[in-house]
């Protein structure tokens, strides 16, 4: 999104009369990016659908807390990331006493889902990503797939750029190892 577009939207969001219209523009602009950001973490389409909607509703209801000098895009990303992490925590707790881990069920979904059309190598890559700790997975996805700058990821995850670089490097090493051993 261009800086001017974002400024215009922020100005409209400030005004209560134009707020809804501006928020609809935001939804149109960012829903796809947020959808794929969440989808790569939770894999399942239906779960992603719920979480994207939750994220936008949360953003809308908390608009008054948004610092209007910050980037709205980064702020939305942050909300979606928190919604996603909370969801993963809940799922993990549900699988505490199960023989299978939640990540195992996600790996099965990659194999069987009609909404995943990658070849064997792509499937293996996704399974390798699922083996990463969730925060490392986030960093990897944001850098590798979303092409976000470290400074942007740093703002979203509130982590230093140095730590993010190290995290990404570890993630890539683990993924390559997993794929080469597969």
């Amino acid at each position: 999104m261009k800086k001017n577009d974002e400024k215009e939207i922020i100005e409209k969001l400030r005004n209560l009369e134009t707020r809804n219209e501006a928020f609809n523009e935001l939804v149109n602009l960012h829903s796809q990016k947020l959808y794929y950001h969440i989808r790569r973490m939770v894999i399942d389409h239906d779960d992603t659908n719920d979480l994207v909607q939750d994220s936008f509703i949360k953003a809308y209801t908390n608009l008054d807390k948004f610092r209007f000098d910050a980037s709205i895009y980064t702020w939305l990303y942050r909300i979606a990331t928190n919604v996603c992490l909370n969801f993963l925590d809940r799922k993990k707790r549900m699988f505490t006493f199960s023989a299978l881990s939640y990540e195992d069920t996600l790996a099965d979904k990659i194999e069987s889902s009609s909404y995943f059309d990658g070849d064997e190598l792509q499937k293996t890559l996704q399974k390798a990503i699922l083996k990463l700790p969730k925060k490392q997975r986030l960093v990897f996805n944001m850098k590798y797939y979303d092409d976000l700058k470290y400074s942007e990821i740093s703002e979203i995850l509130k982590t230093s750029v140095g730590a993010l670089k190290a995290s990404y490097h570890h993630a890539v090493t683990k993924i390559e190892k997993y794929i080469n051993e597969d």
Binding site: F23, N28, H45, Q53, Y60, T61, Q122, N180
Partner: protein, 147 residues
């Protein structure tokens, strides 16, 4: 050596692509759903404000109804004109002396009593027997009084 090892050495050898698919027209529906939810959320907010103030609104309404009822009742069942206002004009213009007597009966009796000297000094005629009778009647011990 595995299939993957044959074709890659590092991550850069894998084509970066998005393999996650969505149902047709999904994003249009998604945007509409989000907008709908936000509109519902707004209407729920209005409803919830009503819910918060509901008891106060009901209380105010019942007070207004009660006050209106009392006002209506007073207006309907109570004559706004007093029976007779006892001022100088009323007394001067009054033709019915019985009515006047009824109104001021106590006053008349009192003033008649004061203006009758015999009545005023009637207490002097009270004898010891009368006092004893009075004391007996109200169970007051006579001996104590004698002391």
């Amino acid at each position: 050596m595995s299939y993957n090892r044959l074709i890659m050495k590092n991550l850069n050898d894998i084509k970066k692509q998005n393999n996650f698919k969505t149902p047709d027209g999904y994003f249009e529906d998604l945007n509409n759903k989000i907008k709908e939810k936000i509109e519902n959320d707004n209407s729920q907010k209005n409803n919830s404000l009503f819910q918060i103030f509901k008891p106060y609104i009901y209380m105010a309404a019942s007070l207004i109804i009660l006050a209106s009822g009392i006002k209506f009742g007073l207006h309907t069942f109570v004559d706004p004109k007093p029976l007779l206002t006892p001022n100088v004009e009323t007394v001067a213009n009054a033709e019915n002396s019985d009515l006047l007597y009824e109104l001021y009966a106590d006053d008349i009796v009192f003033y008649e009593y004061l203006s009758d000297p015999e009545e005023l000094y009637a207490y002097n005629d009270i004898g010891d027997e009368d006092i004893e009778d009075y004391l007996c009647q109200y169970y007051i011990e006579y001996d104590l009084l004698n002391e």
